[in-house]
């Protein structure tokens, strides 16, 4: 199978700290690939470089056959790469439905104010809200949502762009077990429909259950990769988590 996303020799330093060092990974088309590793391993920095939030010091990001190194996030979204964030963003006082609609890149730069939500946009948004189970909140101001509901809204809103690849940064962080189960189920379902996922997550049961392939980072470098079963057996990985390196 071909790689939908590939990084080649990425380096990124913040001051004296080499956050990502010579990082080369590949995410196969149609897979759920996870990026794990102890705190400070460089996972979020790798994400930031991949989706254009920061520019690497050196190295390349290849997405869907195109070198996209340094491309802006909105451009990548239009190319089919979407990303959720570890901490949900400030959603201000727009409703859940409005949040969904402005997340659609098809809207371009048209502002929501004074622009009618089209039936097609509304239908698509409602369909996705239904998919994550929060249609009843469509008219609610997004800043009134609980933390878990905000996570679901963010997840639904990245789907408005009809992505090929979704980068999920700690989707399970701070959500209760029932909601976690819902997220796992929806990710698996979207994956069956053809969407590729790259996941950063600390909840290991979720990672191992969902992933086809697991990449382990430590100190900014790729330490190991393999199937979930391989990674669980790997003593080097365990030692990295326990600080026994």
């Amino acid at each position: 199978m071909t790689a939908l996303l590939e990084t080649r020799g990425l380096n990124k330093a913040y001051g004296g700290l080499q956050a990502v060092r010579n990082c080369s990974i590949a995410v196969k088309q149609g897979s759920i690939t996870s990026l794990i590793g102890p705190n400070g391993a460089g996972k979020t920095t790798a994400f930031d470089v991949i989706n254009g939030v920061v520019t690497p010091d050196s190295g390349n990001v290849i997405f869907d056959g195109t070198d996209v190194t340094g491309s802006f996030p909105h451009k990548l979204t239009r190319m089919g790469m979407s990303r959720t964030f570890q901490i949900t963003r400030d959603l201000r006082d727009m409703t859940v439905l409005e949040n969904m609609v402005v997340s659609s890149p098809a809207r371009g730069l048209r502002s929501l104010i004074g622009t009618k939500i089209q039936r097609r946009e509304r239908d698509r948004a409602m369909e996705l809200l239904d998919f994550v189970g929060i249609t009843h909140l469509a008219g609610t101001a997004a800043n009134k949502l609980s933390y878990g509901q905000k996570k679901l809204l963010e997840f639904a809103s990245v789907l408005m762009a009809e992505p090929k690849l979704v980068l999920l940064d700690e989707p399970a962080g701070g959500v209760n077990p029932a909601l976690l189960e819902r997220i796992v189920d929806r990710v698996a379902s979207l994956n069956r429909s053809g969407i590729t996922f790259l996941l950063v997550e600390h909840k290991m049961d979720m990672v191992m259950q969902l992933s086809d392939w697991v990449i382990v980072m430590a100190h900014g470098e790729v330490l190991a990769e393999g199937t979930p079963a391989d990674i669980q057996e790997n003593d080097i990985v365990l030692d990295a988590y326990l600080g026994r390196a």
Binding site: P38, N39, G40, S146, Y147, G148, G173, G174, V175, N176, H202, K203, M204, D205, M206, V207, M208, Q209, D212, T227, P228, A229, I231, Q232, V237, L238, Y241, L242, G243, R244
Partner: protein, 247 residues
């Protein structure tokens, strides 16, 4: 003998959010030193915030020397000898090292007592003695961490809870901090350490407590606890069977 600290079936969380700690029960005895380990999101820091009074228990009890303290404010807990050194290093950047340390004893009126404690802290941290007139904001990360530890010692605590002291420090600097913590554990102060770096944290204490998803999983002598087979599952997830590639 009454335990120094006892949690019984305690639940806690933030704001209106879900429970982070679920029915945690544990006992901390005076004079021993402890390290709580566990994967991200296990509830380690939350446990410390609960004990020092930043969070209130939603259910269950928090007892210090047999007295129920759940719901008391941090300053009230401090008066009972419970102190907390948070993850974020928080020196007063424009004050000198000495002034920073003195701030730790702001509630003590007796000048002689303050001087006596200061002497003890500077003895424990010779580097701070050398730097006592330096502005704290200009110290290195490791030295700032020593100032926060020293400042906490100025309240003459019986229980000292330390959250991730090695965070963001270079390995050799972290070594010095762990060494200091080990020496603290050898005094009459009871140390309750939380560390992401399980190996190093456990090397500095007597007893390990393993937390996962807001529950205590098991505990035991610090030496050897990482060899427990349950550790692997905890850090790398419940064992999956190899599956066929789904093409």
């Amino acid at each position: 003998m009454t335990a120094l600290l006892e949690l019984s079936e305690t639940r806690a969380g933030y704001g209106a959010g879900p429970d982070i700690l679920h029915d945690v029960s544990l006992t901390i005895e005076a004079g021993k030193s402890y390290c709580i380990i566990g994967p991200n999101g296990a509830g380690k820091s939350t446990l410390l915030k609960l004990v020092c009074g930043i969070l209130k228990p939603r259910e269950g009890r928090v007892m210090v020397r047999g007295e129920s303290v759940g719901g008391l404010r941090p300053d009230q807990l401090l008066a009972r000898g419970v102190c907390y050194v948070p993850q974020e290093r928080t020196v007063f950047p424009t004050m000198t090292v000495r002034e920073n340390l003195s701030m730790g004893a702001y509630s003590v009126d007796d000048k002689d007592v303050v001087e006596q404690r200061l002497g003890r802290v500077l003895e424990l941290f010779p580097i701070l003695d050398e730097r006592r007139s330096q502005i704290a904001g200009t110290l290195s990360g490791g030295e700032q961490q020593m100032v926060t530890l020293g400042r906490a010692l100025m309240v003459d605590p019986s229980l000292m809870m330390i959250d991730e002291p090695s965070l963001g420090l270079a390995p050799t600097v972290a070594d010095q901090i762990f060494d200091t913590i080990r020496r603290l554990g050898e005094t009459d102060i009871t140390v309750l350490l939380v560390e992401q770096n399980a190996q190093r944290g456990l090397e500095s204490v007597d007893w390990g407590i393993v937390l996962d998803l807001g529950k205590k999983k098991f505990e035991g002598p610090a030496e050897g606890i990482l060899d427990d087979p349950r550790i692997r599952e905890l850090y790398l997830g419940a064992k999956v069977v190899s599956r066929e590639s789904e093409g």
